[in-house]
Amino acid sequence: MAHYADVLRSAVSKCKAADLESLLRQWGYLTVNELNQLDFSKSKACVVREVAKLCEEKNRKKETLERVNDFDLMCTVKYPTKRRWSMYKLIDKKAGTKENQMSDPVKFRKKLHKQIDLYFDSTASVSVTLQDGALFCRIYIQAGTNPKFMNSNTIYVIHYPHCQSIAISAFKVSIQNFLFQCLSNTFGYHTMGNMMLSGLHYKSLFQLAFNKIGETSCGRLKEVQNLPFMSRRKRKAEEMEREPNMRSEDEAMKRKRSLSLEDAFGSYEQPVLESLQFKVDVKFKGNKNLQNVPDKVEQFRCCVKFEGPSVLEGIRNLAKCGLANEPLPKHLLRVNSLGMNKFVLKNKDKS
């Protein structure tokens, strides 16, 4: 059936060709003989076609479909940064939820599948796996009556047990309500809310979400304990090279700056965010150079976006290089604990 080939093709599209063989071995659905038959020196597309043919020959339609879906999930787990994840908060815990179910993939799968069947067609399929302490789920919901496999119908969900947030990949807006209801019931909560936090690196996203939810009244946690989210590496100490002939004029200032940065950002590496966006609607503040202060320019709407491999580290580096003056404004410093990467800055209402 062409169905297997489509799923396999989309699964393999994000993988590196070199890893394909090890992934197939890890999958374990093809026998050793069959694996030896495959020629891995050919292109990915050729290998996928052969695998699809082998799957069809097995003639066990339902089981094969399940195993192929599992393979897709395995590939996603191996390459999570190829997808964009959005974070959602679970709100209002229901009484009597059994937390231990969350750590067992088989039981969780049954529960999730039951919920999905309630809200969606019974043709939906669910796969669950456990990796690095997190539950990875793949949900495929058929759209309408079209039996063709569409990549956009696949939703991936990541959840750390006992954590109040989940990461979901892109999904269609039309199914949002049902999906949310379904997921909140499975996890034992009443509703879900958007956290306005998204990115490619799911571990950092979970760290940021945890920082926000775990904020106590005592203030921001600067030194965080060892959590499964991120390997909390201490930032490399800045080496001040001391050559005998070189003199640095502003050493005192540099030292003071690095101390204040360490105070503000902590000594651990910042979570990885690819973009940070601010929508600003405040009074125009560039009046310093203008001779005739404009009365008409009241509200100045603009949108600022910082992009890069790791924006939070970058902000710290901006201050270190001198491109930004200290003290940095609170909305830049506190991104770590605010748990969002899309902000709206507005004038405080005077009323």
């Binding site: 601010f278 600003v280 405040v282 125009f284 503040k285 560039g286 009046n287 310093k288 150079n289 203008l290 005739n292 404009p294 008409k296 320019v297 509200q299 100045f300 709407r301 603009c302 949108c303 600022v304 976006k305 910082f306 992009e307 890069g308 491999p309 790791s310 924006v311 939070l312 580290e313 970058g314 902000i315 710290r316 580096n317 901006l318 270190k320 290089c321 491109l323 930004a324 003056n325 200290e326 003290p327 940095l328 404004p329 830049l332 800055l345």
Partner: protein, 340 residues
């Protein structure tokens, strides 16, 4: 007929970084002076042109555009081919013995086709466009004033390896619009000067075209890089350009590149609503005055950066402006141009 134009001595000229850019957007302006650049405004259309101070005998030529709002619809039809496409901009030194007569253009087409076929055979071009044919024709509607040479459009049609019909693989336009002066001097009778070449094609095909042009007309083609100063002029001039006409304005976008010592952030995008931008500009520049001065321009950009500094305490003026977008066009520093 070969256009006979004058230009200063070749030595000086070839080293001229020309920023002549006949963007057929609806603005054009003229300017002549040295330190501050007066910009004249005509009542119907805002015309923008640039001339920069001549330093060491170098002269940057005016960039002109004309607004075709009130004029014929046919003109805007022809110019539509320029809009909504991303062009790569190149500057050229004068072409030797280039003529725009139909017979010559046909000959050029054949020569270029054979050049493309040869490149194809060498395996440089990946797509199997065995039927790559080049066409040269005079493009109507681009030439504005007497001094302008006839705009030439170059098309290379071919077949991509998967397709069955001929598609246009390369579109290029050699043009100059509302050029102020005859830059070619008396001695250079065989030269034709086109300030700008706009190309839309794959890199490989564009390279083939450029090599062919360089070889046949003994000229030098190089990408036209817009320095940040020019980009700032562009925002200052066009940020509020369409504000009065009731079109929904695209916001004014400035993209700054963060220097590489600062790891982690690659670029900062600063997008401003067009109306607010125009308000600030109007408070700096008296709308009745005919000239845009350099002081006004620097004040404008420093106001915007000051506002940013008050919000984030990040110094934008220490970063490099790399791309600029207004509702009229989007210009990137590495020679990309998109007109709307």
């Amino acid at each position: 007929m070969t256009t006979r134009q004058k230009c200063p001595t070749p030595k000086n000229f070839c080293s001229t970084p020309l920023t002549a850019n006949p963007l057929k957007s609806r603005l054009s302006q003229k300017s002549t002076a040295k330190r501050f650049t007066p910009y004249g405004k005509t009542p119907q259309s805002r015309r923008i042109a640039k001339a920069f101070p001549s330093t060491q005998g170098r002269r940057k030529v005016v960039r002109t555009k004309s607004k075709g709002l009130s004029n014929s619809n046919t003109e805007s039809e022809e110019l539509k081919g320029f809009t909504n496409k991303t062009w790569k901009v190149f500057k050229l030194s004068p072409l030797y013995k280039f003529s725009s007569s139909p017979r010559d253009l046909k000959r050029y087409g054949q020569l270029l086709s054979s050049s493309v076929a040869m490149a194809n055979q060498k395996g440089i071009i990946e797509e199997n466009n065995a039927s790559g044919k080049a066409f040269f024709c005079v493009q109507q509607g681009v030439k504005k004033s007497q001094n302008d040479p006839d705009a030439i459009q170059i098309l290379i049609k071919g077949r991509k390896h998967a397709g069955t019909t001929d598609t246009v693989l390369l579109t290029a336009t050699l043009c100059g619009v509302e050029m102020e002066e005859n830059l070619l001097s008396h001695d250079m009778e065989n030269f034709t000067y086109y300030p700008v070449l706009l190309v839309k094609a794959t890199v490989v095909l564009a390279d083939v075209l450029i090599t062919w042009l360089q070889r046949h007309f003994d000229c030098k083609v190089s990408p036209l890089v817009f320095p940040p100063v020019d980009l700032v002029w562009m925002i200052a001039m066009w940020s509020g350009a369409l504000a009065d006409t009731g079109h929904k304005n695209k916001p004014v976008e400035l993209i700054y590149l963060v220097p590489s010592e600062c790891e982690g952030i690659k670029k900062v995008t600063y997008t401003i609503q067009a109306e607010d931008c125009l308000k600030v500009w109007n408070s700096i520049h008296d709308s009745k005055a005919e000239m845009f001065t350099e002081e006004e321009m620097t004040t404008f950009i420093s106001c915007l950066e000051e506002h940013f500094y008050c919000l984030f305490r990040i110094k934008l003026d220490a970063m490099q402006l790399s791309c600029v977008g207004t509702s009229l066009c989007y210009i990137g520093r590495d020679s990309l141009l998109k007109m709307t």
